[in-house]
């Protein structure tokens, strides 16, 4: 199927400049036009009071069913803390070879870890997370190259260590798909 574009839909407040900076890198990596859009969801429906977090599985289903189209790759951007039932938290998730994914900026902020706010670091982390989840929607699995953006990251320090680009092998895989 011919892919038309990548759609980044933000839910909640995101600074325009932050999204603009990310768009450029995403376009560069996937060689597809990227459109941003504001979405509106009642996030309280996805809130789990016992965990005080938002259900990533249900949010991903909602994005897939209500916002994603076959000819696009759609990523929902959130600024709330996401979880899935078996894990304490997630930065994001996506359907492998699917049409949608989600990513959250919540746990990427330095302030959460008692460090001074750093906008540059935040943008850097978020663009890596966005490219990583979109990579999954293009069928890319986790990569063992420590510099590749598809490297699995469980902590922000892991994100900081990798680049925002795909390694040669993943790029080849992407070209094939």
């Amino acid at each position: 199927m011919h892919l038309e574009k990548i759609k980044l839909i933000s839910f909640g407040y995101f600074e325009k400049s932050l999204l603009e900076k990310i768009v450029k890198d995403v376009e560069q990596e996937f060689q597809l036009p990227v459109k941003t859009k504001e979405g509106h969801l009642d996030l309280s429906l996805f809130y789990d009071p016992s965990r005080r977090q938002y259900d990533g599985n249900r949010l991903l289903k909602e994005i897939t069913n209500s916002y994603a189209k076959e000819q696009n790759k759609t990523l929902g951007l959130f600024n709330v803390d996401l979880f899935i039932p078996i894990l304490t938290y997630i930065f994001g998730q996506a359907y492998l070879n699917g049409k949608a994914g989600i990513a959250s900026i919540y746990r990427l902020r330095n302030e959460r870890y008692g460090i001074f706010k750093d906008e540059k670091v935040l943008i850097n982390r978020f663009r890596k997370e966005v490219i990583h989840e979109l990579g999954h929607t293009f069928g890319l699995i986790h990569c063992f190259d420590p510099t590749c953006v598809m490297r699995s990251s469980t902590y922000v320090e892991d994100i900081d260590q990798k680049n925002h680009q795909l390694c040669h092998k993943c790029r080849e895989q992407l070209t094939k798909t």
Partner: protein
Amino acid sequence: MAKKISILIVDDEESVRDSLYNWFIEDGYHVECAEDAKKALSMLQSESFHIILADIKMPGMDGLEMLKRIKSLKSDAIVIIMTAFATVDTAVQALKDGAFDYVTKPFDPDDLSHLIRNASKQITLTEENEILKDKVTLLENVEDMIGQSEAMQEVFKQIESVAQSNASVIITGESGTGKELVAKAIHANSSRKFFPMVSVHCGALTESLLESELFGHEKGAFTGAVYNRKGRFEMADSGTIFLDEIATISPKMQVELLRVLETKSFVRVGGNKEISSDFRVLCATNRDLKSMVDKGLFREDLYYRLNVVNINVPPLRNRIEDIPLLIDYFIKKCCNSMNRPILPIEPAALKRMEEYAYPGNIRELENMVERAIVVGNGKKIMLKDLPMVKERMSTSFESLDDLGKKHILAILNKYGWNITVSAKALKLDRVTLYNKIKKYGLTQPKQ
């Protein structure tokens, strides 16, 4: 990841199954899910999984009961028990019953990755251990190739030059000359040596059995196909397949074999999924394949596909200088396996063994040595311990006259005591035959 690890998730909560499924699939694992223990156990009957992640609390059979059943089916299965309500008692029980680990939901993402990485490491180590064991056995067997004769040196040279290539090889030679050892030596010296060498004795199987053996079958493909089964071509992936007695396969199998050799892919019996396998083919026969091709009994295209290189293993009678070496080797091998001291051999016995023709080749020689050690006095291998000497001794009680008498009587009976015909068959004249009948006192049996 060198090998795709397969994971079975067993949990009654759909959201947990989905979460784990998505998490592992992104890591490149092969993942399947089951909503209860019953379904999981039935899936395990038809498919094997490297890791089983099971919830402890499930309706019907719980995780601990399932763990016991899985362990009784496959003792080395890696089962990780998950629970939302961890107690020391259940954790201890799970580990006592053989669980690989016990984790509490929800896990930290890093813990989950560590857990699976550790389990994968254990799987890799177990598999490497198996491969190394096979390799050691293989190398032991390859040492069985003994020979200083010119004919065997030529065979060794051919093995060395052909081993590193991927070319198909036909190994010819009489029965018992060691064709399978040549195949093992080629495999052990090739770049495929760390992968399996799978042998198939084509002559021992019927057409349908051979088909299922080579290509595998899906559950329900025929009566008795209770489970999915991998075929030998699939098992030989990255390694070598050795087809012994290739001349015995039916014309239908010849066509199928040709197709597999050309495409390196096949479909299991009763299946519809094309399976690819990277294997090298070695085959052996004691028959003259070329003359079978000329007579139309063996497909010419298959013959040329297989016969890229031909190695002919000489019969033992053509390399008598190797016999003492082989005798020495088999005495050591046999005495070691029986935990006995190495026995010397009497010179007369050695001489008799060197003179013998060995129609059964090395296999006959090995059996002869083993028999002599078993029946002998335990101090030395003697001439009287050899089977050919026994045979000769058992017939030496009869004189030539006795043998002549028996033979003439048999011919006379055969031709109904017709003297003219019997004399002609015995190449005697009628008078001589009458004289012999009289001399031996032979009488015609009454009708």
